[in-house]
């Protein structure tokens, strides 16, 4: 049923003029090449990338719900407390490396958080592509439910908003479970500068 819905949706949407996302993918397979850890499988769209491309990031609600549920299943929630060390989290939030062809494979990457979000008030060089997260935990609380949501959102943002522009930082292998816990602490720990 879900698959049928998916394919129906693909047929119903007009793509950009003459080029379907499959055409574009074929062009990329021809005109891009692997370099370092940036391998060619990365130009193969998965289901949600295709749905978001072809719907202009506005998928029909039913399809979005179904695909978000699939994404939620990819999240590997660790047991116990999800709050790590906010000081390490602050450093991870600052670093923009990871998964690029110029990064060495296996070296720990960062969350690139400040590229798009405001977090600690001391860091004034922050982007605005994502919402400000200043006082995130102070406003929302830091209980187990909130910890689980923040961990999940960082691991796979698409489980909560299918066509979000935020990368799936855990799912893509950019961040480890420990790193994500440190970022959860940066957002939720009352001692974190985000909340003080």
């Amino acid at each position: 049923m879900r698959k049928a819905l998916f394919f129906l949706a693909l047929c119903a949407w007009p793509a950009f003029a003459d080029y379907t996302s499959q055409d574009v993918q074929r062009v990329m397979q021809r005109d891009f090449h692997a370099r370092g850890q940036a391998t060619m499988d990365r130009v193969l769209q998965d289901g949600l990338q295709r749905v978001c491309t072809e719907s202009g990031d506005k998928p029909p609600a039913g399809l979005a719900k179904a695909l978000e549920a699939d994404q939620l299943k990819t999240i590997d929630f660790p047991g116990g407390s999800l709050i790590g060390d906010w000081k390490r989290g602050e450093r991870i939030a600052q670093v923009g490396r990871g998964l690029q062809w110029t990064d060495s494979a296996g070296a720990p990457g960062g969350g690139s958080c400040y590229n798009c979000h405001q977090l600690s008030p001391q860091e004034t060089s922050h982007g605005t592509l994502g919402p400000s997260l200043l006082r995130f935990g102070a406003v929302r609380g830091s209980g187990p439910e909130m910890q689980r949501y923040v961990y999940g959102k960082i691991y796979n943002a698409k489980a909560y908003n299918l066509c979000s522009q935020m990368p799936r930082l855990g799912y893509s292998g950019t961040l480890s479970a420990e790193q994500i816990k440190d970022l959860v602490a940066l957002l939720l720990d009352p001692a974190s500068p985000v909340n003080r």
Binding site: A15, F16, A17, D18, Y19, S21, D23, V24, Q25, V27, M28, R30, D31, F32, H33, A34, R35, A38, T39, M40, R42, V43, L44, Q45, L48, Q49, C52, T53, G56, L99, Q100, W101, T102, Y114, N115, C116, T124, S125, H126, G127, T128, L129, K158, Q165, P167, R168, S172, G173, T174
Partner: protein
């Protein structure tokens, strides 16, 4: 190139002195942009490019002086402002760099492999493409951007470029529009032009290629696209490939009518 490096260092030093307090940031950035434009070494790159343009190279020991950039062999005036465009002899749409590469292989007899071995230079040693781009683009100052948009292959390139702009893939699910999709957004302190809209594409496309003060390097449009895809966590777009030319075609057609005033000087 030590002179260029010193100039670059001076500007980086100047940048560090500019207090980037959030509320004043925009004004400060504008002041800084004005300051760096006043002492840009772009002219030195144009002179270096002219030397390379006239220098016999390759198995044919030929210069690029007979290179046809669309207005006839050796005609440089306003040629860059009309790129990308369709070239009958190659039967494809070409941007500046792909056309230069075409001339290197046909006129100079060089292999594509040799001519593309080092297309992006660094602070100490800019690339041949960078020098040549500065020289050729400089000959279009004051001419309105008018990339080809009439030939079926030019229309095809525009459509492909537009589709590429909104195509989401890669390890981080990004398209160009992920960053260049909504107005008034920034990455860190860098403002992001919404390049599919003419009012934002115009000032940007009118100032590439450009000298980058922050790393003392002259950068081409091919480099700009390459480095975006690196940060988008894609594999590498092949230099001068149809995909890269199509993106530039889409952006330049979108910017049509803007008087070219590059090569620019950027942060």
């Amino acid at each position: 190139m030590t002179r260029l490096s010193r100039i670059g260092l001076f500007f980086v030093g100047a940048l560090a002195c500019v207090p980037l307090v959030a509320q004043d940031a925009k004004k400060e950035i504008q002041r800084y942009q004005q300051m760096i434009a006043e002492g840009s070494p772009v002219e030195l790159f144009e002179l270096g490019g002219e030397e390379l343009w006239k220098k016999p190279q390759g198995p044919n020991s030929a210069s690029l002086e007979k290179c046809d950039l669309g207005l006839g062999p050796g005609v440089l005036k306003s040629a860059y402002a009309r790129l990308p465009r369709y070239f009958k002899d190659a039967d494809r749409v070409m941007d500046l760099e792909s056309r230069l590469l075409h001339c290197m292989t046909t006129l100079q007899g060089r292999s594509r492999e040799e001519a593309t071995r080092r297309v992006f230079g660094n602070e100490n040693q800019p690339s041949e493409m960078e020098y040549l781009s500065a020289y050729v683009a400089g000959q279009s100052r004051g001419f309105k951007l008018a990339a080809g948009a009439a030939h079926p292959k030019e229309k095809e390139a525009y459509q492909l470029g537009k589709a590429l702009y909104f195509h989401r893939a890669g390890a981080w699910d990004m398209s160009c529009a992920s960053c260049h999709g909504d107005e008034g957004k920034r990455i860190r302190m860098q403002e992001l032009p919404v390049l599919y809209k003419p009012q934002f594409a115009r000032p940007i496309m009118a100032t590439w290629p450009a000298y980058r003060v922050s790393n003392s390097q002259f950068k081409t449009m091919q480099w700009r696209i390459n480095d975006c895809y690196r940060q988008m966590r894609y594999p590498e777009p092949t230099f001068a490939s149809d995909a890269t030319v199509a993106l530039t075609a889409f952006l330049t057609v979108t910017a049509a009518g803007e008087p070219y005033r590059g090569p620019g000087t950027k942060r």
